[in-house]
């Protein structure tokens, strides 16, 4: 055994913190070079980085929609940057693979017994021996355990706290590397509250779509069940699914996934809730742009939507602050061409609350 390996081993046995383990791991990797592993890791990291860079988060979409903007406009404005991101990714892959191709077969053989492998094995053994779940969680959350280590140690996967958004981000990489299955990720998603749904990385959604393994109805309905206000969740669910449908290249996949059927079920849930509490529907002003957007995409019948609005605005139980807020929202929709002036007048003026409002 070389002197370097001796030093590494000694340091490793003394390492108490995740930071110290990571430092030693880095030293070990520096000593021995596994080109294939390095290439795979770097390409995966570039891919993830590109994915993140070109993603419009559901949060951003929701913010734009609440202001009356559109996803189409976002796509139009970011088209140039997205193209550059794709070019950087493709160019890096090409250059890295070219550099990898320059390796000789003799060198590949030499790598198999590198000190890095020995040190990594020791690190895995150390983690294996650690029965303290908390410590392992810290290790995972701080991303001190790389994909290769998790692959070698399935127990670490079991210890992932799926209810944490940070873990889902790790899950995106794990899913991409084939370490965890879509089913495991879905289980994690089902445990989440709707408020953190936006944190699910697009890489997960894309993979689930590719595998055709995401049951939107089940997933979204389970989230709806978890929240006290089914109505709010229905609106968010429609908005969320509408966002997915609008992602580039996803339109054609919607019929395959049965999204329209699923959204119709969610719509039924929405109707049920709004009938029970028409005022709540109007109060949820954030949901209106998403609903109009959904109606433009034929996910919700426009006639239904207009009827819900009219009925909701006419509710006897509606208080004046809520009515004023709703009026503003209707006028806002009218100014953006979502509804006509005649329709706006019909909703506002031809209902009993308008006189109270004037009085």
């Amino acid at each position: 055994m070389s002197m370097e390996e001796d030093i590494l081993k000694r340091d490793l046995s003394k390492a108490e913190t995740p930071e110290a383990i990571q430092e030693i791991k880095q030293s070990a990797e520096d000593m021995g070079i596994d080109i294939e592993k390095l290439v795979n890791e770097r390409l995966a990291a570039i891919s993830t980085k590109a994915e993140v860079a070109e993603t419009t988060t559901p949060g951003q979409v929701a913010q734009v929609e609440s202001m009356g903007g559109s996803m189409d406009e976002i796509e139009k404005r970011t088209e140039g940057v997205d193209q550059k991101i794709g070019e950087v990714k493709a160019e890096a892959r090409e250059r890295i693979e070219k550099a990898q191709g320059e390796q000789s077969p003799v060198e590949v053989t030499q790598q198999k017994e590198s000190p890095a492998d020995i040190a990594l094995k020791q690190i895995r053994e150390k983690l294996d021996a650690d029965k303290d779940l908390r410590q392992n969680k810290v290790v995972i959350d701080n991303k001190l355990v790389d994909i290769a280590e998790i692959t070698a140690n399935p127990d670490l996967v079991k210890q992932i706290d799926w209810t944490r958004p940070a873990s889902l981000k790790t899950a995106g990489s794990l899913l991409e590397s084939g370490v965890v299955s879509s089913k495991e990720v879905l289980k994690g998603i089902a445990k989440l509250q709707i408020t953190v749904l936006e944190d699910i990385p697009m890489v997960i959604l894309k993979r689930l779509k590719e595998e055709n393994s995401l049951d939107f109805t089940q997933t979204l309905e389970s989230m709806i069940e978890k929240n006290k206000s089914g109505l709010n969740d229905s609106l968010l669910a429609i908005s969320y699914v509408a966002n997915i449908v609008r992602m580039p290249g996803w339109g054609a996949a919607t019929s395959k996934l049965g999204l329209k059927d699923n959204i119709l079920k969610i719509r039924d849930k929405f109707v049920e809730s709004s009938n029970k509490d028409p005022e709540a529907m109007i109060r949820t002003t954030e949901g209106l742009p998403a609903l109009f957007d959904a109606s433009e995409r034929k996910l919700v019948e426009r006639e239904d939507l207009m009827r819900w609005l009219k009925d909701g605005m006419s509710s006897e139980d509606m208080n004046m602050p809520t009515f004023r807020l709703s009026v503003r929202k209707i006028l806002d929709l009218e100014s953006r061409g979502k509804i006509s002036t005649e329709e706006a007048e019909d909703i506002i003026k031809n209902n009993p609350n308008y006189q109270k409002y004037l009085g």
């Binding site: 070079i33 080109i35 390095l38 290439v39 770097r42 990291a45 570039i46 980085k49 590109a50 993140v52 860079a53 070109e54 419009t56 951003q60 913010q63 734009v64 202001m67 009356g68 903007g69 406009e73 976002i74 404005r77 970011t78 940057v81 997205d82 550059k84 991101i85 950087v88 990714k89 160019e91 890096a92 250059r95 890295i96 550099a99 990898q100 320059e102 390796q103 060198e107 030499q110 790598q111 009026v327 503003r328 006028l331 806002d332 100014s335 953006r336």
Partner: protein, 53 residues
């Protein structure tokens, strides 16, 4: 090319790509941010108009 040289070259390409992607990601965020600002201004104007201000 030795494995060390290969690794060095791969790292250089990787760092270069990550730097570019970071910059482009920032540009994209800025584009969306500026779009949201535009929308906010439009919205405020619409509300003012509807209230006759």
């Amino acid at each position: 090319m030795t494995p060390e040289e290969q690794a060095k070259k791969i790292e250089e390409i990787y760092n270069d790509a990550m730097q570019k992607l970071e910059k482009l990601g920032g540009e994209r965020k800025e584009i969306i941010r500026s779009y949201i600002k535009e929308l906010e201004v439009q919205k405020v104007n619409a509300i003012r108009a509807s209230l006759g201000l």
